[in-house]
Each structure stands twice: as structure tokens, then as C-alpha cells.
């Protein structure tokens, strides 16, 4: 083991939640290498100092109550979610009825065409809605 490998292993052990014991290879290297012993001591001291210095304060006791208050002010409406679908079906039904009344064709093909149009446009709007939501989610 050379110094580069030894120092990488020392840094690697500090990236673990609970650093384990040094490997025999590392122990053997450090026994004969003053530079790596000093490196190890510096890094362990630094780890202790960082641990002591970077500490998170707890969330305040009022956090949950305050969040609950804000949530009550902004309820999510179920109607809001299904509104585009309702508007889409209603629009298609109206358009099909208008075609039935104004076009000089038999009722069967017009209703069938209206139904096909409704299904196809439903899938198109579902895909568009999904993409829009994904985009909004990415923007946070």
C-alpha cells in the first residue's frame, strides 16, 4: 500500500456513518509512515471539529401546528382534479349534438364519429396534462 492508497482509505472511512477499524494493510503502512499518521490525525481531528460545529437545531414545537393551520387554509378540491375531464366530455357531447342537428348525415355515423373523436381527444389531453404536470413538478 502506498501513501495515496492509505490516505484514500482514511478519507473513505470518514465518509461512513460508523467508521470501522483500519485494515491490517493500512495499519502496517501507518506504522512506518509518519506523513500518513499525521494525515490521519489531522483528518480525525477535523471530523470531530466539524461534527461539533455543524449541528442542527430541532424544529420548533409550533412547527406542526403552524403547518396544519396553513394546510387548512388551502384544501385541495377533488372537483379541481376532474374538471378538465368533465369539460372535455361535455364539450364533445355538445359538438356531437350540434353535428347531428346541422349535418345532412344519418345519426348513426355522426354519433360514432363523435364518440371516436371524444376517445382520441381524451387520450391526447391526458398525455398533454401528464406532461404539463411533470414539467410543473420539475420546476417545483
Amino acid at each position: 500500500m502506498d501513501c495515496r492508497e492509505a490516505q484514500e482509505q482514511i478519507l473513505e472511512s470518514l465518509a461512513e456513518t460508523r467508521p470501522g477499524a483500519n485494515t491490517p494493510d493500512l495499519e502496517a503502512h501507518m506504522a512506518g509512515c509518519k506523513a500518513c499518521r499525521s494525515f490521519s490525525e489531522t483528518q480525525f481531528m477535523l471530523d470531530l471539529q466539524l461534527r461539533a460545529a455543524i449541528s442542527a437545531p430541532p424544529l420548533s414545537a409550533a412547527f406542526r401546528a403552524s403547518l396544519a393551520k396553513r394546510l387548512r387554509r388551502e384544501p385541495v378540491s377533488v372537483w379541481h382534479d376532474i374538471l378538465p375531464d368533465v369539460a372535455h366530455v361535455a364539450g364533445c357531447v355538445c359538438a356531437t349534438a350540434l353535428c347531428l342537428l346541422t349535418l345532412p348525415f344519418a345519426a348513426g355515423p355522426v354519433v360514432l364519429a363523435g364518440l371516436a373523436f371524444t376517445v382520441v381527444t381524451y387520450f391526447v389531453q391526458a398525455v398533454l396534462q401528464g406532461s404539463l404536470e411533470a414539467w410543473e413538478e420539475d420546476r417545483g
Binding site: 473513505e12 465518509a15 489531522t42 477535523l46 437545531p57 424544529l59 396553513r70 385541495v76 420539475d138
Partner: protein, 173 residues
């Protein structure tokens, strides 16, 4: 943990899923916000904003990503947008500039070295400072830091190593 939340969402038990997410992640998200905002009060406000957004978008959850991944994406974007809007309001008086996270610990016999350490942290490149701060705030979990910052674990470790080497060099100066 995420599986519980996922199964609650599949059963349309949104409130229970939300409360489970709150129990599991409120502290982690708060610490993440603390890393970005560097002020306890602001971090708490932003944490509330994050969970409020989560509640609003929960009906659109489609199960493609783990709920925690989704939550961390919302958290990251909310923190960044809060930081951007604060940067726009840059006319803060000097005494209202928040104390950095590392200086929040109470002073003691090693208070001076903490201030020095804080100065050294400030000199690190931003990504290294964020990674090392979050690593210690999140109880030294590389995995959690990687998920929060949407970086591979190997990249987080590499930033950690570089930050440690740079800090050690600064301390020796």
C-alpha cells in the same frame, strides 16, 4: 418506509400518506432547508412551504418515483427558489444577515476554532460546502446527501474528500 407511503397513496389515503411522510422526513427536510437557507427561522418557513406543496401535488402522484425522491425534488426546488427570491431582495441591513449554520452552536472553550472553521467552510467551493454541511447535518449519511442533492454517491464522496483535504490545508496555513 417508502413502500408504506406508496401503498397508502395507491389506496387513495392521501392524508395518512402525507402524515407518514411528515413523520419520516420533516427533520431531514428541515436540515436540508437549513443547509440552503442558513437561518433556522427561514429554514422552518421553507420546510412548511415544501410540505404544503407536497400536499397540493400529492393527488398527482403516479408511483413512478419513490415518494421520498419526489419530496426531495420539491424540497430542493423550493429551497433554490427561496434563495433566488432572497437574492433579489439584497437590500438587507448588515445586522439582519443570518448567522451561518456552523456558527449556531453555542460557544465554549473551542469557540474560536469554530469561527475559524466557519471561515474555512466559507472559502470552499459552493458544492463542497453544501455537501460537507449536509453530510454532518444528516448524521453522516452519504446516501441521504446523494438523494437530497440528486447526485451519485460516488460524486458526494468525492466532494467530501476534496472538502476535507482543502479544509485541512486551510487549517495548516
Amino acid at each position: 418506509m417508502d413502500e408504506d407511503v406508496q401503498s397508502l397513496l395507491q389506496k387513495h389515503r392521501r392524508r395518512q400518506a402525507f402524515e407518514r411522510l411528515l413523520d419520516l422526513y420533516e427533520v431531514k427536510v428541515f436540515r436540508m432547508a437549513l443547509m440552503f437557507m442558513r437561518d433556522r427561522g427561514r429554514a422552518e418557513e421553507v420546510t412548511q412551504d415544501i410540505f404544503l406543496k407536497l400536499w397540493q401535488v400529492l393527488p398527482a402522484y403516479d408511483g413512478r418515483a419513490a415518494p421520498s425522491t419526489w419530496l426531495y425534488t420539491i424540497a430542493r426546488n423550493t429551497c433554490l427558489s427561496a434563495l433566488r427570491s432572497e437574492a433579489r431582495r439584497k437590500t438587507l441591513p448588515l445586522d439582519s444577515i443570518p448567522e451561518p449554520v456552523a456558527a449556531e452552536a453555542t460557544g465554549g472553550s473551542d469557540a474560536l476554532s469554530r469561527i475559524e472553521l466557519e471561515r474555512c467552510l466559507e472559502r470552499l467551493p459552493e458544492v463542497q460546502r453544501d455537501v460537507i454541511t449536509l453530510f454532518y447535518l444528516q448524521d453522516k449519511s452519504v446516501e441521504e446527501v446523494a438523494r437530497m442533492l440528486d447526485l451519485p454517491e460516488s460524486t458526494v464522496k468525492s466532494h467530501l474528500h476534496r472538502a476535507r483535504l482543502a479544509l485541512a490545508a486551510m487549517i495548516k496555513e
